[in-house]
Symmetry: C2
Subunit: 325 residues, 2 copies
């Protein structure tokens, strides 16, 4: 029997899922609209149906051994989605138990950044590492820590909220209710805010002066920077400076071998990596300098969230084997 | 046979050692002057002799099962003291191997803050906790992280340098070579610097105006604050504000159940705990508020560094048992 895992990524708008083998190949995938269901139970039934149909496409000698789910506010310990701010269903949703009851296999739930970290360890650039951090740069900034080969969950299951460390207590307003959080500067949204700040403060001409805030995105800023647009280039420099300064603080907490950057902003390559590395090194305690690698994630394609989620299952079984050995 | 561990704390000035049972009672203790030996080998031989003499005092049915050592720049992985800045012997000192060769028992080395964290877990207030942090407030600020019941060492064996996260990049000069590190504000030395800054900036009368920087210590500042001295009270408020702000950042990294304060400054009680808790809560991401306890360490007496070091041995054996179970 060939073992296959399911990876499900529950986003605020879409829920993507896929069937994944141990090598990280997505054999089949699909998606449903998260927002189309008024009740959580309706959503779950639609998801379970879609999954059953997709599983039927597998050859007879393939079997599903587990389901991994990445979701904002997914709690690894309880298997519940707890008070998610990006979903319309409120309160505590016992997702893992429902999947296990329905499909009779283990279901592992965690938040999307933790899933990305486990994905990097199982399929990606951290396969031989025991101590590393993944920083996900999307709408916000998420982070997942692996320490001694184990995903760090914390006492309440909410470890790794580096996006809400402080850059400036009187700085930009954050969705979390605070001001000046790292993710208001370093994320797809953060760099847009920086571009608008630069356009407001400076007289420099820029092709971005013709783009509305709603239309502006990381890809446009990256392309403008490549064409030599000074505002776009400065926006990356500023973003990398703040990320580097804060990674210098994160690094001295857990002493990782590497920090991986994942998601849209990280695809800008040198534009973001160079200032990040330079400012991290400059701000690091001397004992740590030259020791910590800043690397791109290996999971950069569309299927990355599915891979991350599916990796939770392999990780679960490999941990079990280790404990029994 | 009753099992006994040795705890050794190598400080810049004195090296203290003791024989400790599993309950955390120090049966015998002694010390030698760290600074009295020009060569490391002379120091080691003197230490080994003193230890042999002390072990002779034990009843015949007691046996030494291991040696734990806490030392600045002690590396858990290699068992070496590496480039310590507080010792006169330079380079790499293979301490653990030398003790094992001499006494034929395991020797576990780590830095003093990590030893304090393990001590809290083995003998202290964290005996039932799996996720906690110990902050040691001495000449500097050290920190030890326990995550999932395991001491966090990091990839290079240097995790937990929270004392060198940044309060202000243009702030006070730090021994590490940077400026504005947390320990330049929050430590026995840090609060002295704050008192002097307040005396410089304000006209307020204060009993501390009669004390030189060299003579000033935490106990004096504490007593002055208890007598209502405004400068001393403000110094604690300022110290607690900065500690609270930075613990709010540390907490979102590893999501601990509790953060323990250890050492001289923490003995000031409410003077330091109240502002620390207030400012941590105010600066925490809302998801974490009301969840993380700030508590005094249970190991506050003179023997604490010996206990911390000796606890490394019990922790070593208990981890082994767990792995074999």
């Amino acid at each position: 029997m060939k073992e296959i895992t399911v990876g499900i990524d529950i986003g605020g708008t879409n829920t993507k899922f896929g069937l994944v083998n141990r090598e990280g190949n997505v054999l089949h995938q699909g998606n449903i609209k998260t927002t189309a269901y008024a009740e959580f139970l309706e959503f779950f039934n639609a998801m379970a149906n879609a999954l059953r149909e997709t599983i039927k496409l597998l050859p007879a000698d393939h079997k599903i051994v587990g389901i991994g789910v990445g979701a904002a506010n997914g709690n690894y310990y309880t298997g519940n989605i707890e008070h998610a701010t990006n979903l319309r269903w409120k309160g505590i949703l016992p997702l893992a138990k429902m999947f296990t009851d329905e499909f009779h296999v283990p279901c592992i739930l965690t938040n999307d950044a933790n899933a990305a970290a486990v994905g990097e360890m199982i399929y990606g650039n951290a396969q031989k590492m025991k101590d590393f951090i993944v920083i996900t740069l999307g709408t916000g900034l998420g982070s997942g820590f692996v320490c001694g080969g184990v995903l760090l969950n914390g006492h309440h299951g909410i470890a790794g909220e580096v996006g809400h460390t402080s850059v400036n207590p009187n700085g930009r307003y954050c969705n979390c209710g605070k001001r000046g959080c790292l993710e208001t500067y370093v994320s797809a949204t953060g760099i847009k805010r920086t571009v608008y700040k630069l356009l407001a403060d400076h007289l420099e001409p820029s092709e971005l002066r013709g783009v509305s805030f709603d239309d502006l995105n990381t890809k446009m800023i990256t392309e403008a920077a490549h064409r030599g647009d000074l505002v776009a280039k400065e926006a990356f420099e500023y973003t990398g400076r703040i990320l580097g300064m804060k990674l210098a603080e994160t690094a001295v907490h857990t002493d990782p071998e590497a920090i991986f950057l994942f998601g849209g902003l990280s695809l800008a390559g040198d534009l973001i990596f160079k200032p990040t590395i330079r400012h991290m090194e400059a701000n690091l305690m001397p004992l740590f300098r030259g020791k910590i690698k800043i690397l791109p994630s290996a999971l950069q394609n569309q299927a990355a969230p599915i891979l991350g989620a599916s990796s939770l299952v392999w990780n679960h079984f490999e941990k079990q084997k280790l404990e029994m050995a």
